[in-house]
Symmetry: C2
Subunit: 225 residues, 2 copies
């Protein structure tokens, strides 16, 4: 598929489109218009058409989009039809939770090994993923075509581990450490997971709800006078 330079904001919306299309697929819905899609995702139809036009023409004027085809095309744009090799560094709570519960293979990733410094986890296997010693990491990276490292180490290990990763050819880091990885090779692709972003949206909506409720109560109090 031909690629054009696409803005970061469009890329960020593609996974949301994908989830919605999976939902429609599961409901047996095979055709959707840009206005229906927009309504369900809180976007304007023209925004949606514009997003999709970055990648070529998907829909047909007046007929909407064919859900399975659009799903496949967006998946392919996102690289889900490729197979990437991943390793995970740091088998603490978050690392462990990802190994056990996150289905990497659903998204085109093979998680082939995890690494830790703790003797009590080295040598064990979680969900078919072996935990190796951190000392083995450089050689493992040299001998295997690892595309991405999932970084779930404690904060103070984030920068030193990142240096090892980039020195041994890892090009992309999925960063759960909340440490700004300013150190890596400038060509390293870093995706930071910020739990707080989603909590703050929630906080906004709670505030709005509380404000509306007080405003209503105030109006009613005035009326009763």
């Amino acid at each position: 598929m031909k690629r054009l330079k696409v803005s970061n904001n469009v890329i960020r919306r593609l996974p949301r489109y994908l989830r919605k299309l999976d939902e429609l697929n599961a409901q047996g819905i095979s055709r959707v218009s840009s206005s229906e899609l927009g309504q369900q995702l809180g976007l304007t139809p023209s925004q949606i058409r514009q997003d999709f036009s970055c990648f070529g023409e998907f829909g047909q004027q007046g007929y909407g989009y064919h859900v399975p085809t659009l799903r496949e095309q967006i998946g392919s744009i996102l690289g889900m039809d490729r197979s990437y090799q991943a390793v995970l560094i740091g088998v603490g709570n978050i690392g462990h939770a990802l190994i056990d519960n996150f289905c990497f293979s659903d998204w085109g990733f093979r998680l082939t090994a995890a690494f830790d410094v703790k003797p009590e986890v080295i040598g064990s296997t979680f969900n078919k993923v072996p935990v190796l010693s951190m000392e083995e990491l450089p050689r493992y990276l040299d001998e295997n075509p690892v595309n991405i490292a999932v970084l779930t180490v404690p904060k103070d290990a984030a920068i030193p581990v990142t240096r090892i990763l980039t020195a041994h050819g890892v090009e992309a880091i999925w960063n759960f450490t909340n440490v700004e990885l300013t150190e890596p090779n400038s060509s390293t692709i870093v995706e930071n997971v910020h739990f707080s972003d989603s909590l703050l949206s929630l906080s906004y909506y709670i505030s709005e709800r509380i404000d509306e409720r007080s405003a209503r109560a105030a109006r009613e109090a005035r009326r009763e006078k």
Copy 2:
């Protein structure tokens, strides 16, 4: 502060503005223009001005924004200057990781209790948060003004626990279960955390990189002929 109805997309961008402003603050930068901010966040200056205009006037034409003031105003819009009470349900790996590492109080939330069914964790305290039995949940919710529940239970417990939460007045759920909570009271605010969204963006950028590299290699091969 007066509230207007603001689109979901604007709300989603506010936490990113907040993080960037914290960064600028930490660097001792006290003034920023919408074009500088836009450049750093991959947004157009007019997009940024438009976003901020939803909440009133923050900047002064030609002078840019005062970083600490803007930071405070956005924090206040997001409800960070209020104090919300939170409970966490399900002290598995993810739940445990959040209790230990996620600084709820930084974002205006007090995590006052966690709940689980496992006898081995009930009665313990992690990071000053007591773990109570699930059986105590309904009474706890009736007696405490809990605004939000962090849902980190296994998939099959997601819906039954959500029913308890909404029946006992919880208005907002921060959902880590990957289960679509279609069941709750329609007025419940649900924020789903989808790890895959950020992994898929990463996947896109790796694909792009690989494609660029093959295109370059192909061009060079042609040139050498």
